[in-house]
Symmetry: C2
Subunit: 211 residues, 2 copies
Amino acid sequence: MSAKSAVAIPSPFRTREEKAREREEKREAVLRAAVRMFNARGFHATSLDDVAASLGISKPTIYHYLGNKEQVLIECVTRGLEMLRAAADEARAGEGNGLARLGYFLRRYGAVIMDDFGACVVRTGDECLSAEGAILFRSRKRDIDLAMRGLIADAVADGSIAPVDVKLAGFTLAGALNWAARWRDPAGALSAEAIAAAQVDLLIAGLAPRG
Amino acid sequence: MSAKSAVAIPSPFRTREEKAREREEKREAVLRAAVRMFNARGFHATSLDDVAASLGISKPTIYHYLGNKEQVLIECVTRGLEMLRAAADEARAGEGNGLARLGYFLRRYGAVIMDDFGACVVRTGDECLSAEGAILFRSRKRDIDLAMRGLIADAVADGSIAPVDVKLAGFTLAGALNWAARWRDPAGALSAEAIAAAQVDLLIAGLAPRG
DNA sequence: GGCGCAACCTACTCATGAGTATAGGAGAGA
DNA sequence: TCTCTCCTATACTCATGAGTAGGTTGCGCC
């Protein structure tokens, strides 16, 4: 696609696209470093100086790539929320009865929540954001909640799960999975997917002895 | 027990015990005001000046009753943890099979978590505390976790619940109930106990259609 | 060569909030 | 009356951390 095809000595001269890609990579790296720290120490307890230092750069560089501290956080939670929304869309478009689609969503939801950006959604309270930011954040979270409720309602409607209170079930299921963002050890033996699957099995079957 | 028995005109002169009780009441009021604000805005985002202002007093008065900001938080979470421990103790000492005792614990656990001090336990991350404080906090929470696991293991052992993975079930149940600290509206129609009971019923029965 | 621009840094400003020094008033006892 | 001990407030200090000003370097383009 360019002159670097045949005897390509890696050139230190960047094309326009390479530059743009590099910029995007750096932005990405800042976000990743920030979300790790936010999750580990909390938003307020993390200074942008610390984030910068962990990347070997200085604070103004962060401001160069992302407007301000809140912007950094908003980008992080937006990533997480997008993944959750994608999971909901896929589940809704999926095959199978209501329970199958709900189960698919819950497994994906759980796995996302154990990702850095997903965990950030859970760990970030409205109080971290400005008034406008909090409104946006709440509304995005509400979309996920409503998607969850929709899937539950569908499953109730087609009889593939018991006729539960949709709202209460939504919060209870979300909470059970959300909490994994707190206790799961990324260095542990089980993958996020495996844990989520086990949790979902438990939530579907319940504690009661199986027939 | 004193001279205030018969024709008691309420005296403005305090006895030694009354003084002590008043001091305790004031301490209590500070704690209650603080925990509300911590829950609403987060620990780091709450200043002791704000807490003091909400009581119509000044910051040094808070320092007079409680050593420093961390001490205030520690007292708050300790209250919550004590309530949870009491619930575990009662459940363990209770009658009935394993499921009955586990169910009792979970209902109490859920109700405590929706209380101001209980919610504080959930909303407080280790990052808010000093190194020593965090160690103490973690170990107290671990006690609760272990109590929960013990009750689950007992119920598995006597066959009153299915043979679940004890650790995973413990975290999943705790998460489902903990999350209520975030979404429940204290002004809502349902009591904390009613919500907890409904959640526990759901967790025991599971989503699967009932036979 | 000179201009413009992107990227990055050093070195600030400035607000906030934890914690303290200090003083003053009020009841209790000598 | 004098003093001691609580209780409480005013008015600080001081560290931290968000955000900014302004300079420097190096590349691409006329």
